[in-house]
Symmetry: D2
């Protein structure tokens, strides 16, 4: 059993808290928040000792690993501290919103090498894994196209948008990481186009709430990403991989298993699962499995800091392409 210190007590901490508590190989040892009340609430709910003392939390010998689920702009500080303390780190994505601070995260990990895993949870979703596995084992031959749909049920609050780094950095980055991971390569050129159709407040911030992106890979394969901040029928999450000998698709998830026929509609399902907490619940469990397994097996976790840097670089290039109307070429 690995003792875990959970840093943070906001939304993502409430995603990880119960999953750490329920994990057979993890023990929620401490919950840290600079404001003790938040730490206490999370500890009451999921266990562990609440603390507002970072140094003591990281120094605790019962703490074998750290899960960082704090606001993005604090990740760098906590990564540096945990790395200095020699504790393996699971960090919610993204590491940071800027390349400069992201590089500092990687530098900290280079100075104090500890196992580090970035929470690209969609890689651990069983459907996405099955698609990647089938692509990588040659079920559809050499890859031609990848397509990813990520349409969210409703735009987030404008305060969230302001702090998000922009739509491509906040949302498209998930698809970017997922598609590069499936393709097994990084794009050499990207183009993106954004529009604001749902919430004028988002447009007023200079941001988009719907976007299309094209990634061009060195192999010649290409990817299309289809993002929307609004979706009437739930959380639309699909992948399509088109290769020389075939095509693979994943399906959307509904909570209701029934096919419904009536005088209005036939072969109908109910709306999709609401949002990522429902759709990707299992993926967070599996991501913690990977973190646990990597530590206990003494190997590096499969979603690395370098993966996070690479995805951010592409997301920032998309942002620039959407702004300038020019494809952005990426160097190795």
């Amino acid at each position: 059993m690995l003792g875990v210190a959970l840093l943070g007590s906001g939304r993502m901490a409430h995603v990880y808290g119960p999953k750490i508590a329920a994990h057979p190989g993890l023990r929620l040892e401490r919950v840290f928040n600079p404001r003790i009340a938040g730490a206490e609430r999370a500890a009451d709910a999921y266990g562990g000792t609440p603390s507002d003392d970072l140094t003591a939390t990281l120094a605790d010998p019962a703490v074998d690993a750290v899960v960082i689920a704090t606001p993005t702009n604090t990740h760098l500080e906590y990564i540096e501290a945990a790395a200095r303390a020699g504790k393996p780190i699971y960090c919610e994505k993204p590491m940071d919103l800027t390349m400069e601070r992201t590089e500092r995260c990687l530098a900290a990990l280079e100075s104090h090498p500890v196992p580090f895993m970035l929470g690209f949870n969609r890689r651990f979703d069983p459907d996405n894994r099955a698609l990647r596995e089938a692509v990588r084992t040659g079920d559809i031959g050499a890859l031609t196209f990848l397509m990813s749909w990520s349409r969210e049920p409703a735009p987030p609050p404008i305060d969230y948008v302001r702090a998000s780094g922009g739509y491509f950095v906040d949302a498209t980055i998930h698809d970017i990481d997922l598609l590069c991971w499936i393709a097994g390569e990084r794009p050499r050129k990207v183009y993106a186009a954004g529009t604001c159709l749902f919430d004028p407040a988002i447009g007023a911030e200079g941001d988009s709430d719907a976007a299309m992106t094209i990634l061009e890979f060195p192999s010649g394969a290409m990817a299309h990403i289809n993002n929307s901040r609004q979706c009437a029928y739930g959380f639309d999450q699909r992948l399509e991989a088109f290769g020389r000998t075939g095509m693979l698709q994943t399906r959307n998830h509904r909570d209701d298993p029934l096919i419904r026929w009536d005088s209005e509609r036939t072969e109908a399902g109910m709306p999709l699962q609401h949002f990522f907490l429902e759709r990707y619940d299992a993926s967070f469990h599996h991501a913690l499995d990977e973190f646990h397994a990597a530590i206990t097996e003494g190997r590096a976790p499969s979603a690395t800091a370098a993966d996070g840097r690479a995805a951010l670089e592409v997301a920032l290039a998309c942002t620039e392409a959407a702004r300038t109307g020019r494809a952005v070429t990426l160097t190795d």
Copy 2:
């Protein structure tokens, strides 16, 4: 071009009239009805000379074949007359509602052998043909189960029901013929159960508006037929064939080709095609093709009077089984 005399000017005549007129190998020569006004209306719409004189109609040398689309209880008379006149006959199903009169139809055809085709149009539906073809060529190995769903949008008028011969003879007979044709054998034992759930007037006549039937074939294969006189989502017509190495299914037809997603339903289609005129429109064309081809090729049409007799025998056995609660054994 074969000159055709269309007998009748009711509902089924209005199904066949335009299809004969449009058929590249058929020419609508005469429309007969003992009440001339009906014949005139049909002739106005589809062409041909109206007539209330059966003898003259059948004696006309321009008439190469006869399509009988009159009320069921007149089929025997017209089959006898057309056979005597030596004209090939296409007769809307059933030949008759009783075994005794059906045998007289066959006797007439034996005395005056002319090409005869019974209008089992569902055999000529492309989906049903494809399923039969796949079954017969071994796509699913030896047959275990056949299932047929026939659910109509709404109960017919009670006058129709009274003259129909009962639900099994009127409706189930379609499924019986289709399944026997697919299986390539006749059942040795049948059981059926009827219920009245939609229109109490049907129950008051001692008839059913929903029924389940089991056919047991000599090979050991079995069939289930699922009939309802009411169906909220349109005309439900499906087949399922289950064999040793696989299963085949046909799909329902909708006029609307779109898949619809909204805040109420996902992956939805619109309701199914309304009723048999829409769903089986093509099958009537293909049935006339077969009639035309058989005559011009000098061979017997593929849906015979004996097939009609066999189906009626099974339908009557279903009626008896539903009445007595005992399976009825059929002899060869």
Copy 3:
């Protein structure tokens, strides 16, 4: 936490053992088998103290409840013993293969009233529950037809067949219970037809390996059950409920989430889950949930001994109907 004694260490015990061990409200206290080696193996795997002493097992004050997962012909003995010992009982279905011994089970429970739950696990499958819930809340109006498909991947060993009570009692009984539970009523008349198409050894025993059944309910609704001991594409488990205002269907389960397109086939899935251990895994967990909840809430579990007796009575009537070719009428 309820301490559980698991009786048995065969196949079903290995289904329940790990689920009891993992259940948050249950504790595997003892594993009983008259042959101690079996008990030891199960206890090694899942925990609890192995024992070959039934009296001591049932007398243990740490044992709050008993899960009977022994061969069917021993259920009566263990139900009687556990009831006398005052311990709540979860008994794998069926209670017994004969009405006479089933009545003795009920008599034992009447003499020594303890909470009793029969393991009709399919009632606890989320898909089946969703369909029942939708039917009961009126999503499709008054019920006309229920249909259940249960097709197993391959025939069981002939020794299993010999001891099974026959196909209807062994297999159809699942569908019978499920459909009666959904319909909310018991059939008043049943008909069934069996055939032997897959394993001649089964036919040599006078048993069937494929069967069709019709149940007629007092409300006028009817049900069709479609059973096969062999299925090329996996474990085919579907329900269809057809009512006055619509239809509901459940889908088969595949382990592979992908839709596959290639030069041979399009929109294809991989074969279905292999058999009931895979398809109904969740249902066993949920059944234990219900058992645990009923005991801790002091109420009767929802799948009762009377339900088991009713289903057996119908299954035996199916057996008789298949033998005699006559529908069997059931009295209240």
Copy 4:
């Protein structure tokens, strides 16, 4: 009945020939080809008088309209001649491969105004029409995204590619016209990326055999086009329209109506229809319907020369964007 002169006797002439012959309102009067042998072959097959004399063909008073199905680089010449002769023109798309010559087509039609229809047959496909109709009547609210997949079974001969004007002008132009027609607006900015993955000879010509395109519309809506010259499972043709209140999709077409289940695959269809002649057969009939109806009703056909110019302008912009890596802005 309108008398039609069919110009050309190549592949597309063999598409139009039988459809003109079968059309109830059209009569194939003349077949023109500068090489008389080709005209004779087509006339033998479909009717009409063969001719290698353009002037005589156009001067024939029995010729009420002209269908141009000749190589693209001859369209201008025939449009000019037919317009001068005052004959209504149906011209296979594209009018020409260059903007300069396309403008000359429009100029000819301005000098000699005759009814002119460009053969954008996909607008007349029933599925595409249904999707547009649903979009335009507000079924999914304001449009956010349109997506079009056009994947062909196999790359064309390299000679075809050389004369095609490039992949965007040859193939993407179909999707461009279709999506603009559905959206009801022309894009203000386009980006495209091409790759060569299937046939190196195509790449050696500087052309692509797979491409992704983004169109940005003035309304803020965007479109993605997904083109491939190779597709293992047949001719993949899909549309997706995503709007504020819902989504609409069209399905691919298969010739085989069966759903197939076996030990390898479940819920599978056979491969898709082979190519556009199969998939869009009906659309050519409907396009001729529109041509016929427009002429007889004295109105302009719905797919205009200006539509063709607009689509070509966008396709050329895509070509430039793919070459330069910069989005191309289009002016009104």
